[in-house]
């Protein structure tokens, strides 16, 4: 789509054409991103790093949601519930059954995936708004179970999670955020790469075909049932992973962290970042994670002039949150990813306009 970089590039094999990055600017950009990612833990203090870590977890979850909503066109309001499934599964397996964390996280991924397939069954019949309502029901149902099933929280209403320990390696208190940053960065990169790979092969293409024209897709031999359920399974695998990571990172979980607000926040992330774009999911997750902090900073800065802002901070945050979604829906429905594309095109074509 970015036509500017296509000129003068000749491939001699399909292998070379299928590579993810071809041109020097692309390589330089990736190197720059890598350098920044490595510098972050040295530059940021613990407060900022904790927000960065939350953003990385959100990125994994947003990639998952984007696979379902942005790429397969199946609207889901059940994100919060699915995160809860991943979180509680992994925590209960590690803390009560003494499973090693990687295995329990894997179990959480699988279980969330399976539950996604079950919740996805209505998608075989429902579309659009109707499916949104069906997944909303699943969200309510899962949160209801989490709230009322005392065994999950041993009657406390929340679960205190043990410090993460991976085969003898234990996260240290002194460098908690830094160590988590490394773990989460690696996982996010892997999530982004696997999702990107998915959409350059036949499986991912069939997801997008179902989104664009389901009748034509079935006439091309795409099994709609199988494809939609696979999409739910794959998407929820990422969401379950995000849920499990969230539980181990925040070290305390309760149902309040997985309400419908969370589902909407994740939808906002992929709308702001860009539907049907892996990079967009990451941009959106970072943007929406840093937005409340920015809002607070603005409120503090304007504290002298408008003390009302500080007093009404939660309301102010909500208003900005809503405003951002509306502005993106009107001005750039394809999100930050598209804006970035346009910036690249502008410089690619410079000094010409197109």
């Amino acid at each position: 789509m970015s036509a500017a970089i296509e000129t003068g590039r000749h491939h001699r094999s399909y292998t070379s054409e299928m590579r993810l990055w071809h041109t020097r600017p692309q390589m330089i950009r990736m190197a720059l991103v890598a350098v920044i990612a490595i510098l972050v833990p040295f530059v940021f203090d613990n407060y900022w790093l904790s927000i960065a870590n939350t953003a990385l977890i959100a990125a994994v979850g947003a990639i998952g949601l984007n696979i379902l909503v942005g790429y397969t066109g199946q609207i889901s309001l059940g994100q919060g519930g699915f995160l809860a499934v991943g979180a509680f599964t992994s925590v209960i397996l590690t803390d009560r059954l003494g499973m090693p964390a990687p295995i329990s996280i894997l179990c959480a991924v699988v279980l969330t995936s399976v539950i996604g397939v079950i919740i996805g069954l209505p998608a075989l019949r429902l579309k659009g708004l109707y499916l949104a309502i069906a997944t909303l029901a699943s969200q309510m149902l899962i949160i209801f179970i989490v709230r009322r099933w005392n065994w999950l929280t041993e009657g406390q209403g929340f679960v205190d999670v043990n410090r993460l320990e991976v085969f003898g390696f234990r996260i240290e208190r002194s460098s908690f955020e830094q160590q988590w940053y490394v773990i989460l960065l690696i996982i996010t990169i892997l999530a982004a790469i696997t999702a990107t790979n998915l959409f350059r092969t036949g499986v991912g293409r069939s997801f997008m075909a179902v989104r664009d024209q389901d009748i034509a897709a079935s006439a091309m031999g795409v099994n709609l049932t199988r494809t939609k359920l696979t999409a739910f399974a794959v998407s929820n695998a990422y969401v379950g992973l995000a849920g499990a990571l969230l539980a181990h990172y925040t070290e305390i979980i309760s149902w309040e962290k997985f309400t419908i607000d969370v589902s909407i926040l994740y939808l906002a992330m992929i709308i702001v970042g860009g539907m049907g774009s892996i990079a967009g999911s990451i941009y959106g997750a970072i943007f929406m994670s840093f937005l409340p902090v920015m809002v607070r900073m603005v409120a503090d800065a304007l504290g002298g002039v408008l003390p009302m802002l500080q007093r009404q901070l939660p309301a102010f945050e909500h208003a900005i949150f809503g405003l951002v979604i509306i502005v993106f829906l009107i001005a750039e429905p394809r999100g930050l990813n598209r804006i970035w594309q346009r910036i690249k095109d502008f410089f690619g074509f410079w000094p010409f306009r197109y």
């Binding site: 789509m1 296509e6 399909y14 292998t15 299928m18 696997t194 999702a195 790979n197 998915l198 350059r200 092969t201 036949g202 499986v203 991912g204 293409r205 069939s206 997008m208 075909a209 989104r211 664009d212 024209q213 009748i215 034509a216 897709a217 079935s218 006439a219 091309m220 031999g221 795409v222 099994n223 709609l224 696979t230 399974a233 794959v234 049907g276």
Partner: protein, 305 residues
């Protein structure tokens, strides 16, 4: 036209030319009180272009939708015939080499048929029935290449894990099928649009992409629903050329719905005429044109003196 040797045959049928390929018998389709089709019977011969014509609302598209499994007929049967090779494989299970050998083998064969009537659209596609749509139904956000690769869907193994890890088999499969798609791009002269999202392309090009996508299935039977609708004379001629190329180079059998009588007369081998859901004539283009019932349906009785 033939700019280079094509390595892959686009014909997915094992039936030798001249044999009946698709048999539609006593097909009826009712939507409540509306009879869209009544007792429609006809046979498509392998290796031909079979046109289905008729006035608006005659049931042409309904007929095509029945064949491709989108509509379930109320009564009647549609069967697709194939050769039983020595391996005993059924329709849609042959390797490309085996298929080509069977289709060109002149010795007498045992034939078998497969009922399409109650299969879902994706199962019908798997048996080798590909189609295009009257109103373009491409995957608009995907590129021309991706659209055509989706035509290869039934021939590809779908493994989520090897896809996500970009493992050798997944990568090799992409390249292997890309080669066939590139031949179709070459055949239909779509090289310039390969990486363009189809939603941004001109109408005529989109129609061509849709033909290409259907061809990518390596169809045993290709169903084209008004491939020239809404085109000017020049574009129509181009499209007719492409259809003839596909027919002559690849030997694909086709069912073609078209309104333009000149096109139908020029390119089809056999014509079935529908009116109010019934077959009113079936024969060679010349025979059909001379049929008084056809003239009545198209021009009205007053014109016949």
């Amino acid at each position: 036209m033939r700019t280079r040797a094509y390595r892959h045959s686009l014909n997915g049928s094992t039936m030798p030319p001249g044999q009946p390929l698709l048999q539609v018998s006593d097909l009826s389709l009712r939507f409540g009180g509306v009879r869209a089709l009544s007792d429609v019977s006809f046979t498509v011969t392998s290796g031909t272009i079979h046109a289905v014509i008729g006035p608006n609302g005659a049931g042409k598209s309904s007929l095509l939708n029945c064949v491709s499994g989108l509509y379930k007929p109320t009564e009647g049967e549609i069967v697709l015939r194939h050769v039983v090779g020595e391996t005993g494989r059924r329709l849609g299970e042959h390797s490309p080499e085996e298929r080509e050998r069977l289709a060109t083998d002149a010795s007498p064969h045992e034939y078998a048929s497969r009922t399409l009537t109650r299969l879902s659209p994706n199962r019908v596609a798997r048996l080798g029935v590909a189609r295009s749509f009257q109103n373009i139904e491409l995957f608009e956000h995907l590129t021309v290449l991706e659209n055509m690769m989706l035509g290869r869907h039934i021939h590809m193994r779908q493994n989520v894990f090897s896809a996500m890890l970009w493992l050798g088999p997944a990568r090799r499969q992409e390249i292997e099928h890309r080669e066939i798609v590139e031949e179709i791009i070459d055949l239909l002269q779509l090289q310039a649009y390969r990486k363009k999202p189809v939603g941004t392309l001109a109408y005529g090009i989109q129609k061509r992409v849709e033909l290409g996508r259907a061809l990518a299935l390596q169809p045993a039977l290709l169903l084209l629903d008004e491939p020239m609708a809404g085109m000017n004379a020049e574009e129509k001629e181009d499209m007719a050329r492409y259809i003839l190329d596909v027919h002559e180079l690849a030997g694909v059998s086709m069912v073609l719905i078209e309104h333009d009588m000149n096109v139908v007369m020029d390119i089809s081998n056999r014509v079935t005429v529908l009116d109010f859901g019934r077959v009113i004539a079936d024969g060679t283009p010349a025979e059909v044109m001379a049929d008084p019932q056809v003239i009545e349906a198209y021009l009205g009785t007053e014109a016949v003196r």
